[in-house]
């Protein structure tokens, strides 16, 4: 009986994850192509994500209370709670990127950094792959995705410093510059959240908590 409920729950989580993935793609595209309509679509979609999170949380609590699961089923239900929470945060970051995208529209186009589309690609792939790792119960992939977050963090640090030095020299660019810096910051957080989910997938499959261990472990 619980197995059937777990299938329903997994289906719901994947629907939520797919929607969050789509929001991230649209939010990034709205920044790169200065597409106001797309940015507003992302902001509107957030309500659906919140609804998913509530439904999944309610279902998990009910299943834990009614079935008192153990072993894999217990890991699945506790991780489903955490994964849905991280997907919701991830969607919030897409909304934040879309809002920065709307801010950037108020200023003439600034020269995009070459790292922006690159890091956008990295984080999108991380999100897509971590959902695949979840579906396929792939602990090795989860571990590898977690490692990719280091590169995202490095690029963010570098861009942060570069942007600050440019803004120091061109005070007229401070407002769009801050919006752009925040876009990078949100990208970096998306990487963190995908890494969190990968740790949860690892725990789901292996039963080992790797949250506070180094990524090169």
């Amino acid at each position: 009986m619980l197995q059937a409920e777990i299938k329903t729950l997994q289906h719901k989580l994947l629907e939520m994850g797919g929607l969050a993935e789509q929001m991230l793609r649209q939010a990034i595209e709205s920044v790169l192509t200065r597409d106001e309509a797309l940015a507003r679509t992302v902001i509107r979609t957030d309500d659906k994500i919140d609804q998913f999170e509530n439904e999944i949380e309610t279902l998990c609590i009910q299943l834990i209370a009614l079935h008192q699961p153990v072993a894999f089923e217990l890991r699945f239900l506790t991780m489903a709670l955490k994964i849905s929470q991280n997907i919701e945060r991830l969607a919030d970051k897409s909304v934040a990127i879309a809002k920065r995208s709307l801010e950037l529209l108020q200023y003439p186009p600034v020269k995009m950094f070459v790292d922006l589309p690159y890091v956008a690609q990295v984080i999108q792939t991380m999100v897509k792959d971590v959902l695949d790792a979840f579906v396929n119960r792939n602990a090795e992939l989860a571990l590898e995705i977690r490692g990719r977050d280091d590169e995202v963090d490095e690029i963010y640090e570098r861009m942060h410093d570069e942007l600050l030095s440019i803004l120091g020299e061109h005070p007229g660019l401070i407002q769009p510059g801050i919006s752009l810096l925040l876009v990078f910051r949100h990208f970096e957080r998306v990487g963190d959240l995908a890494a969190n989910i990968s740790e949860e997938v690892y725990y789901l499959v292996k039963g080992d908590i790797i949250r506070h261990l180094d990524t090169d472990c």
Binding site: Q62, A65, L66, H67
Partner: protein, 255 residues
């Protein structure tokens, strides 16, 4: 408009039961909805069995039994003039200890169908096979239908009793601690079956196993010292009970 599932099949109104001077149930009122699993939980001697046995008038045999209040089955009052044989065809019962009849496995299931007026052997064969399949016992017994059920495990005997009860196509099937004698694997079988059977009929379940009620029921009622302390959606009873005694019971600190 109420859907089929939301219709009350049983209405219990202000039910009081005494055995001699001792009051066993105290002012119980609740509704049982069609095609749902309703479970009654509570510690030993709280009145669960007395309650479910009232529903098809099995307590009538007990000396000094006395009751007040109303039990309405499909809106009709179950009173002294009720035809109990007809009633027990419509409201079947599965007991804690399986009680197969002292006849063949086939005859156990065919028995109910015969008293319902089915006599053609081809028809009886169909009824027997259908109901043994429904409870998942057909493959185990199809080659030993003429033998007595004694050789079956307790769990299989219980499944046979359920098949026998189903053969008369009851509207309600009552389970009184049906897994009390069974091992965990057999228990899972019965619980899964109960979930499946609710597509065909209404199920009422009395158990002192909290977890079992949580797993199988849609609606749960907590009985304590003859009172119905709380009655409502099972997920609500097990995630956010409204009465402190229910909270104490479902968390294992009472009873």
């Amino acid at each position: 408009m109420l859907s089929e599932k939301e219709l009350s099949i049983l209405s219990i109104r202000n039910l009081n039961i005494w055995y001699g001077e001792k009051q066993i149930l105290n002012s119980l009122s609740f509704e049982v909805q069609q095609k749902q699993v309703t479970a009654f939980i509570g510690p030993a001697n709280c009145g669960k069995s007395t309650l479910v046995r009232c529903l098809n008038r099995l307590n009538d045999f007990i000396p000094n039994f006395r009751s007040t209040g109303e039990i309405l089955f499909n809106g009709i009052h179950l009173g002294a003039s009720t035809d109990t044989t007809a009633l027990r065809k419509q409201i079947g019962m599965v007991f804690r200890k399986p009680i197969p009849f002292r006849c063949s496995i086939y005859e156990n299931v065919a028995y109910g169908a015969r008293i319902s007026g089915i006599n053609q052997s081809a028809h009886l064969d169909t009824v027997v096979e259908e109901n043994l399949r429904k409870v998942g016992l057909w493959n185990e017994v199809e080659n030993i239908l003429d033998e007595t059920p004694k050789q079956l495990s307790i769990g299989h005997q219980q499944l046979l009793c359920i098949a026998r009860a189903l053969a008369v196509e009851p509207e309600i099937l009552i389970f009184d601690e049906p897994c009390g004698e069974l091992d965990p694997i057999e228990t899972v079988k019965i619980e899964t079956l109960v979930r499946e059977l609710k597509n065909d009929c209404t199920l009422i379940f009395a158990t002192n196993k909290r977890r079992q009620a949580a797993r199988v029921s849609d609606i749960a009622g907590f009985l304590y010292c003859g009172e119905l302390i709380e009655f409502g959606a099972t997920e609500k009873i097990f995630t956010n009970p409204q009465d402190n005694r229910t909270e104490q019971y479902v968390t294992g600190r009472l009873g």
